[in-house]
């Protein structure tokens, strides 16, 4: 995925479009992440000003939601469903296999790849499920995921 490099000018433009909406903090942070791939710490004060709330409020929202991140994303992201329906068809094994194939641990991240758990992708009759850069994969194997990531990078 391609993101704009962070700059406060570009961030201001993003915030201009969101800060007037009702309940603007979360959508402002989401819009910043869409644009830049993450929400740098220095954005907190900008969002607070634009939305007329305290920095503490913004920090609170930024740290509450699993989706929001404060560091740049790796090139590829693999999210593996670890909830019950996928457990029943081998998601624990899929996680182990994926950790081996990708050479990284769950919830760890480097510049190239991150493996993250997700609790349900709504594909519960075709598990185990995973999402590679936003693309949903059913009946997933670690090799499928690895091939897909290689094809994308």
């Amino acid at each position: 995925m391609l993101f704009t490099p962070w700059s406060s000018q570009a961030a201001s433009a993003v915030l201009d479009a969101t800060c007037e909406k009702p309940g603007p903090v979360l959508i402002s942070l989401q819009a910043l992440q869409n644009e830049f791939g993450y929400v740098p710490k220095e954005a907190v004060e900008m969002v607070a000003k634009a939305c007329n709330v305290s920095r503490a409020d913004v920090h609170g929202v930024l740290t509450f939601y699993h989706d929001l991140r404060t560091s740049p994303p790796p090139k590829n992201s693999v999210r593996i469903c670890v909830a019950e329906a996928c457990q029943s068809v081998g998601s624990r094994k899929l996680v182990e296999d994926a950790e081996k194939v990708f050479g990284t641990q769950m919830e760890e991240s480097n510049d190239d790849i991150e493996l993250k758990p997700v609790y349900c992708l709504g594909n519960c009759a075709l598990g185990p499920s995973a999402m590679v850069d936003g693309e949903l994969i059913g009946r997933a194997t670690a090799n499928d995921l690895h091939h897909l990531v290689k094809a994308k990078s």
Partner: protein, 514 residues
Amino acid sequence: MSIRIYVPKDAAVRSIGADLVALAIEAESARRGLSIDIVRNGTRGALWLEPMVEVETNEGRVAYGPVTVADVDSLFDSSFHTGGRHKLSLGLTEDIAWLARQDRVTFARVGVIDPLSLADYQEHGGLVGLRRALTLQQEEIVTEVTQSGLRGRGGAGFPAGIKWRTVMATASDQKFICCNADEGDSGTFADRMLMEGDPFTLLEGMTIAGLAVGATEAVVYIRSEYPAAYATVNQAIKLARAFGWLGENVLGSGRAFNIRTRLGGGSYVCGEETAMLESIEGKRGVVRSKPPLPAIFGLFGKPTVINNVLTLATVPAILADGADAYMARGVGRSVGTQVFQLAGNIARGGIVETAFGVTLGELVNDFGAGTLSGLPLRAVQVGGPLGAYLPVSSLNVSMDYESLLAAGGMLGHGGVVVFDESVDMAQQAKFAMEFCAVESCGKCTPCRLGSTRGAETILKIMNGEDVQGNKKLLLDLCEVMTDGSLCAMGGLTPLPVRSAMLHFNEDFDRRARA
């Protein structure tokens, strides 16, 4: 005339190759000089037959599945585009027994129509309910919904009409309709399929709700794990606005109704209605104390109807066909149909919409055809991660709100997750606590701390450490969480834990002996 071929666009079907199948059909028909028109419909819900390709013929729609790219050549060789026989032939779609046995009300159009065609939508009965609602008084709409017996499909099962009446009767300059599309329960996907397969039905239900209670603004809160549903609903809203349905003059009635969407942030607890309101207001998804009820003090402090996707999507059919037709289905106080979702280790998974009162065994064995692995069935979790684990001896339970409660479980959002004998129920119990620890909003202590202590205690039991003492401690903790938590997250996490201990005690005791 060009041939109409349906290849589902539903995210689940795309996850197993539907896009490639559609591309291959397009390429092959071009190579053969055939004029075809590919419609990307929703899924019929028989996920075990997907990707299922349908062809329109004079006799009706003929189905083939599961189709892979490798089958496309031979399908054309067998003239499937005119309904020819092939090894993947399933016959007329409407005659497929698995589908024919169902009673589709909420899902009547899902998989049948082009999800974003308003022409298709109206040809199949769309907007009839709304047009009727526009001729009724607020009071009459609320009465119709109340009389239908429709209860909240999100999990709590609260009568929709009574909630609507409270909002209608509360005076305010502004009221809201909020659709809870934060379908986070593992084993559930009906909201997603409806939003992707028939989004106009949801918008119609919301518009009717708005007319009924006097709200002109509405929000659909969709979880971020459902990017396709989010995109489809946004597109449907745009089309409905251009059509003159949504906006300042609903179908020329002079009444206003606007719908916008909000995307979740990957937080399970935001499916709890008050946490969802906080999230829509842009704040941390922290649960509110009740009272005040959202029907009186909801979004931005205004009276708010909060209903699940399936609840709202059922309203158009009730208005179109009348309350009596709906309440003729079901058992006891669980009237109408429920959209069950067969998931996990199941041979024939997917959507089964049928009247309340079907048994769990019928769902798992008759529709589901047992486990996918072929190993014996051991446990079924009904109602999501906060629902009970039921043993094989409970398969005769009737699937309705009251019977499941009596059996020590809950219906929840209608998810049915099947496990074979390889499951370790102590591990499942531990996961329930761990999930609660990850997703707790942190507001109340029993949930925030209890979940972590619970996971630690189950680990001790799994390690064979003072098993009897720790089991007693765990039950105590479950009692505190059940009675002392603010919302269902902490309050119901003990349900899977306790049911696992009750029905599968051997998995907890095994380690003591080992």
